[in-house]
C-alpha cells in the first residue's frame, strides 16, 4: 500500500511525514517522527495515555488517523515545556509527587493543560471530570488533583 504524505505542525514546528492510511496519529508520532513521549495504554480511547492537543483541543491520538493531522497544529508532551524551563503544570507534578511510574504523566499533563487553558479557576469536581478520561493506576489521583489545583493557583497569580 502506498504511504501518504502528511504536512502538519507539531509543537510549533512544520512537520512532514509518510504514513499508512490506516495508521493512528499516535503511531505516526511515536514511530514516524520519534516523539515517544506520547504513550499507548489501550489504543481504544479508554486510558488517555496518548492525549495530545490538535488545534488546541484535547484528543486521544490513538483514535485519530495520522492523515487527519494534515494542516492541523498538534501539541504533544514534548511541546509543553516553555523555552525557559518547565511549564508550571510539569513543575507542580514534580513538587506534589503526582507521578509514581510516570507512564500516565504525559497524558495527564496534556489534559491538564487543555483544562487550564479553558478554565482559569476550576473547582475539584471540574478537575476530576476533565481528567476522568485519563487512567492512573499508581497514584489514586489524589496528588494529581492537588498538583493541578496548585498549578491553577500559580497560573492565576
Amino acid at each position: 500500500m502506498a504511504k501518504v504524505h502528511v504536512t502538519t505542525s507539531v509543537n510549533n514546528q512544520p512537520q512532514e511525514f509518510l504514513c499508512e492510511p490506516q495508521e493512528s496519529l499516535l503511531n505516526c508520532l511515536r514511530d514516524e517522527i520519534n516523539l515517544t513521549g506520547t504513550k499507548e495504554g489501550c489504543a481504544t480511547g479508554d486510558c488517555g495515555a496518548c492525549s495530545v492537543l490538535v488545534d488546541g483541543r484535547l484528543v486521544c491520538s490513538c483514535l485519530m488517523l495520522g492523515v487527519e493531522a494534515e494542516g492541523k497544529e498538534v501539541t504533544t508532551i514534548e511541546g509543553i515545556a516553555e523555552p525557559d524551563g518547565l511549564h508550571v503544570i510539569q513543575q507542580k507534578f514534580l513538587e506534589h509527587a503526582a507521578l509514581q511510574c510516570g507512564i500516565c504523566t504525559p497524558g495527564f499533563i496534556v489534559a491538564a493543560k487543555a483544562l487550564l487553558d479553558k478554565h482559569k479557576d476550576p473547582d475539584e469536581e471540574t478537575i476530576r471530570y476533565w481528567l476522568a478520561g485519563n487512567l492512573c493506576r499508581c497514584t489514586g489521583y489524589d496528588k494529581i488533583i492537588r498538583a493541578v489545583q496548585d498549578a491553577a493557583k500559580e497560573l492565576a497569580a
Binding site: G41, L94, A97, C101, P106, L131, G133, L135, R137, G140
Partner: protein
C-alpha cells in the same frame, strides 16, 4: 538503629531524580525503543479456554510478503516444556482463552497482524473448568491430567494443585467456649493489576550466541534466568536492560514475550520488538486469583476471641501457583489467638496463570476475616476498633505463621484511628462507614549496590531494583543521610544485568528496605575509605579520624592542626591516596518488618441504581520510617484506590465457554478521577529494629484493607451484608431487591 539521631534528609520531600524526564516525555519505557532493521513480532492466541492442538500450519503466514519468521511451541527447546515455558507458548494443549499458540515476526506490525490470520490451527475443543466450585466438584474435567495435590501420586489426579494448613490449639474447644459465633462464605473475583503500560520488549541475538533484551520488568535478573531457562541457554549469555517501567504491581515479575522475541531474533538475525495490546494484557497476563473463602470466628461476650478458622480456595489459573501461602499467613495475622485453623487450596482452572498483585493473596483472605470480625463487633455491640484492640497482635505475639512479632505498629494504627478527626466525624447521612485492618509481612532477600564518587565529590548510586514508584529518590535520601552530603549531589540509577550486581526482583515491598540497606552499607564503605584517605593525608591512624557532616575530621582530643576534608576534597586527590572511591555492598536482607494498616470508608448507596459513592477514605499505616513521605502516601493512596476498584467494580467476566468478555478498559473499568474522593493518609512510624533507619516495606499493605472496609461500609449503609465482591451496581441492586422481597 539511628532513631536517636537527628535526621536531616530522611523524611523530607525532595523532587525525584528521574522526575524531569517523566514530565517532559523523555523517559524511555518498554515500547519506546526502536532499532535499525528491527522486526515486529505478534502472537496468535487461543480462542478456546481448553482444547487439544491437533495441528499448526504456519506456511500461509510465511508466504505473506514481509513475514520473516513464524514459530509455534514445537520450535522451542523440549527442555522448556515446564509451566513457565508452556505458559509462554502452548505445546499440545491450550489451557485458557488467550494462551499463546504461535508467533510471527514481520517487517511491520501491520503485516505481522495480518499474518496471524493466515496461521491454520486445528483444535479439539475440551470442556473447560471455570470456577472453584466446578473444579472441586466430583467428575470435574481436569485442567491437567497429571496434577496430584502436593505431588502425591498415591491419590487420584485432581484440580487441586496444593493444599496447606496452619493451626494452633483446639478450635473445637475454642468455639465451645464462645458466646457468639459468626460464620460466612465470601467470594472475591479475578482482578487485573491494570498497569497502564502493556508488556513490551525488544530482543537482539548476536551471531556469537549472546543476546540482549530491553524490556519493562520488575526484575531484570529474573527475566535473564527465566528466558535462559525457556530457551535452554546459559544465564550469562543474555543481557537484560530494564527500561523505565509503567507500573507493575507484581504483574511484571514474570516473563511472557521475551523468549519468543529472542528466539525469533536468533532465527532471523534481526532485532525483534514485541508489544502487547491491552486486550492481550487482560487475556493472557497474570491477573490475581478469584477466591472462595469461609471465615468463622467465635468470641466471649466481653469480646475475647476464643477461636477462628479460615478455609481458603484460590484460583491458580491453568498452572499451579496461587498465592495461598501469603493468603494463609495474612488472614489472622492481626489477632493474638490461642485456637485457630487456616487451610489453603491452590485450584487449577482454565484461566490465565495468576501472577502477583500487590500483597498477593492477602486482600482476598483478609476480606473474609475482616468482614467476619465486623459482624462479630455488631453482634457483640462493640466498637470495631475496641474489639480489635482487645485481640490484636503486638510485640511478642507469635504470628500464625510461626515467628514472634518484634515491635509492630498495629496498636499504634488502631489508636491513631480513634484519635483521627475523620473517624470522630459523623458518617454521611443515610450512608455507612466500614473499617478494616490490613497487613503484609514484607520481604528482604538479595540486593547489591555500588556507590561511585566522581572527581568533584558527586555521588552515583548504581543498584538493580527497577523503580516503580520513586525508589531512586529514597535511595538518594538514604545515601544523603548516611554520607552527610546534600541530596542534590547524589543520583541513582537502575543498572542492567551486566552493569550492576545481582538484585532480586522489585516486589513484596523489598526495595526501599533491602536495596536501601545495600545502599546504606555501600555508603558506609565509602565513609570507611574516606577516613583512611584522610588518615593517610594527615599522617594519623585511621581510628583517629571521624566522619561528620560529610567530611573527615580528626577525632575529638586528637592533636592535629588540619582542616576537615570534604568528600569532594578527598575525591579530588583520590589518585594520590589510592585511586578512585568506589563503595559496594551485597547482602541478603533479614528482618523485613511487617506493616499493618487501618482503613475506613464512608459510602452512600444509591438504592435506585445500586451505585456506591465513596464519600471519604482514610488510610493509616505503619511505615516504620517514611524515607520520602510523599511517596509513602502515594503508595497508600494508590493501593487504596486499587482496593476500592476491586471492591466496587473490577472483575473478569467469562462466558460459559470460558471466553473473557471484558478484555478492555471500557468494560473492565478501573477507577477514574471522578469516581474517587481525596484519599486521606496518616503515616505511623514504629521503627523496624532490623533496618538502620527503621524502614518497613509499605507498597503491599495499602491494597489489603479497602476490600473489607468497603464491604463493611456498604453493610452499614444497607443494614444487611452482601458477601461477594465486586459491589457493582447490578449486584447491589439485586441484593436490595431480594432483601425487599424477602
Amino acid at each position: 538503629m539511628a532513631e536517636a539521631v537527628d535526621l536531616k534528609a530522611i523524611g523530607t520531600r525532595p523532587i525525584r531524580p528521574d522526575g524531569i524526564e517523566k514530565v517532559t516525555g523523555r523517559a524511555n519505557f518498554g515500547a519506546d525503543l526502536n532499532l535499525p532493521g528491527m522486526l515486529h513480532g505478534k502472537i496468535l492466541r487461543s480462542p478456546h479456554a481448553h482444547a487439544r492442538i491437533k495441528s499448526i500450519d504456519v506456511s500461509r503466514a510465511l508466504a505473506l510478503d514481509g513475514v520473516i519468521s513464524a514459530v509455534s511451541g514445537k520450535d522451542f527447546p523440549e527442555k522448556s516444556g515446564n509451566d513457565l515455558g508452556v505458559n509462554i507458548i502452548a505445546r499440545d494443549k491450550v489451557l485458557y482463552d488467550g494462551h499463546a499458540v504461535a508467533a510471527v515476526a514481520a517487517t511491520s506490525a501491520f503485516v505481522a497482524e495480518q499474518a496471524l490470520a493466515l496461521i491454520d490451527v486445528e483444535y479439539e475443543v475440551l470442556e473447560p473448568v471455570l470456577s472453584i466450585d466446578q473444579a472441586l466438584s466430583d467428575n470435574a474435567p481436569l485442567v491437567n491430567e497429571n496434577n496430584h495435590t502436593n505431588g502425591d501420586t498415591s491419590k487420584p489426579a485432581s484440580n487441586v494443585a496444593a493444599y496447606q494448613i496452619m493451626s494452633r490449639g483446639d478450635v473445637e474447644k475454642g468455639f465451645a467456649e464462645a458466646d457468639v459465633i459468626i460464620e460466612g462464605e465470601y467470594r472475591v473475583p479475578t482482578a487485573h493489576q491494570g498497569y497502564i503500560e502493556p508488556h513490551a520488549c525488544t530482543a537482539a541475538m548476536n551471531e556469537d550466541g549472546r543476546g540482549t533484551i530491553w524490556c519493562s520488568t520488575q526484575g531484570q535478573f529474573d527475566v535473564r534466568s527465566n528466558t535462559a531457562a525457556v530457551l535452554d541457554k546459559a544465564v550469562s549469555s543474555i543481557r537484560v536492560i530494564p527500561s523505565e517501567i509503567g507500573g507493575g504491581f507484581g504483574g511484571k515479575t514474570t516473563i511472557y514475550l521475551e523468549p519468543v522475541a529472542l528466539h525469533m531474533s536468533e532465527l532471523t538475525g534481526r532485532p525483534v520488538k514485541m508489544v502487547m495490546s491491552r486486550e492481550e494484557v487482560f487475556r493472557a497476563t497474570g491477573p490475581t486469583s478469584a477466591t472462595l473463602c469461609r471465615a468463622k470466628v467465635g468470641a466471649k461476650k466481653d469480646g475475647t476471641i476464643t477461636a477462628a478458622t479460615a478455609w481458603l480456595a484460590y484460583e491458580a489459573g491453568a498452572f499451579p501457583g496461587a498465592p495461598i501461602g501469603p493468603g494463609c499467613m495474612s488472614v489472622l495475622a492481626p489477632y493474638d489467638l490461642d485456637n485457630f485453623k487456616i487451610e489453603g487450596n491452590d485450584v487449577l482452572v482454565n484461566k490465565p496463570k495468576v501472577c502477583a498483585y500487590r500483597a498477593p493473596g492477602a486482600p482476598q483472605s483478609m476480606h473474609a476475616m475482616e468482614c467476619a470480625i465486623d459482624e462479630l463487633a455488631r453482634e457483640l455491640d462493640m466498637d470495631p476498633i475496641d474489639l480489635r484492640m482487645k485481640n490484636c497482635s503486638d510485640e511478642g505475639t507469635v504470628a500464625p505463621y510461626g515467628p514472634t512479632f518484634p515491635p509492630i505498629g498495629l496498636k499504634a494504627c488502631l489508636e491513631a484511628t480513634k484519635a483521627h478527626p475523620n473517624y470522630q466525624k459523623a458518617k454521611p447521612e443515610n450512608g455507612g462507614r466500614g473499617i478494616a485492618v490490613g497487613f503484609w509481612f514484607n520481604i528482604g532477600m538479595q540486593s547489591s549496590a555500588e556507590v561511585r564518587i566522581a572527581e568533584n565529590g558527586g555521588v552515583t548510586i548504581m543498584e538493580g531494583s527497577p523503580d516503580i514508584g520513586g525508589s531512586r529518590a529514597s535511595m538518594c535520601l538514604m545515601a544523603s543521610e548516611t554520607l552527610g552530603i546534600p541530596y542534590e549531589q547524589i543520583n541513582a540509577h537502575v543498572g542492567d544485568t551486566e552493569g550492576t550486581g545481582y538484585c532480586n526482583t522489585t516486589g513484596g515491598s523489598r526495595t526501599t528496605f533491602a536495596t536501601g540497606m545495600a545502599v546504606i552499607q555501600a555508603c558506609e564503605d565509602i565513609i570507611a575509605q574516606c577516613k583512611q584517605r584522610a588518615a593517610l593525608t594527615w599522617d594519623l591512624d585511621v581510628d583517629q579520624v571521624d566522619w561528620e557532616d560529610g567530611q573527615a575530621v580528626p577525632k575529638p582530643g586528637v592533636n592535629a592542626d588540619v582542616s576537615p576534608l570534604s568528600l569532594a576534597d578527598i575525591a579530588r586527590s583520590a589518585g594520590r591516596t589510592g585511586g578512585p572511591l568506589l563503595g559496594r555492598a551485597s547482602l541478603n536482607a533479614q528482618g523485613a518488618g511487617a506493616s499493618f494498616s487501618v482503613n475506613w470508608t464512608d459510602v452512600k448507596v444509591d438504592k435506585e441504581t445500586g451505585r456506591i459513592d465513596v464519600k471519604a477514605f482514610t488510610a493509616i499505616q505503619d511505615a516504620g520510617k517514611a524515607i520520602h513521605p510523599a511517596y509513602v502516601e502515594g503508595q497508600m493512596q494508590g493501593g487504596a484506590v486499587q482496593g476500592l476498584g476491586w471492591a466496587l467494580n473490577e472483575e473478569y467476566i467469562y462466558n460459559d465457554d470460558g471466553i473473557m468478555e471484558n478484555a478492555g478498559f471500557l468494560d473492565y473499568r478501573i477507577p477514574v478521577a471522578s469516581d474517587m474522593p481525596m484519599i486521606d493518609t496518616q503515616i505511623v512510624e514504629v521503627p523496624n529494629p532490623s533496618h538502620p533507619y527503621g524502614v518497613r516495606g509499605v507498597g503491599e499493605t495499602p491494597i489489603v484493607a479497602p476490600l473489607a472496609a468497603t464491604s463493611n461500609a456498604v453493610r452499614d449503609a444497607l443494614g444487611f451484608r452482601i458477601y461477594d465482591l465486586p459491589l457493582s451496581p447490578p449486584r447491589v441492586l439485586e441484593a436490595i431487591d431480594e432483601q425487599e422481597n424477602a
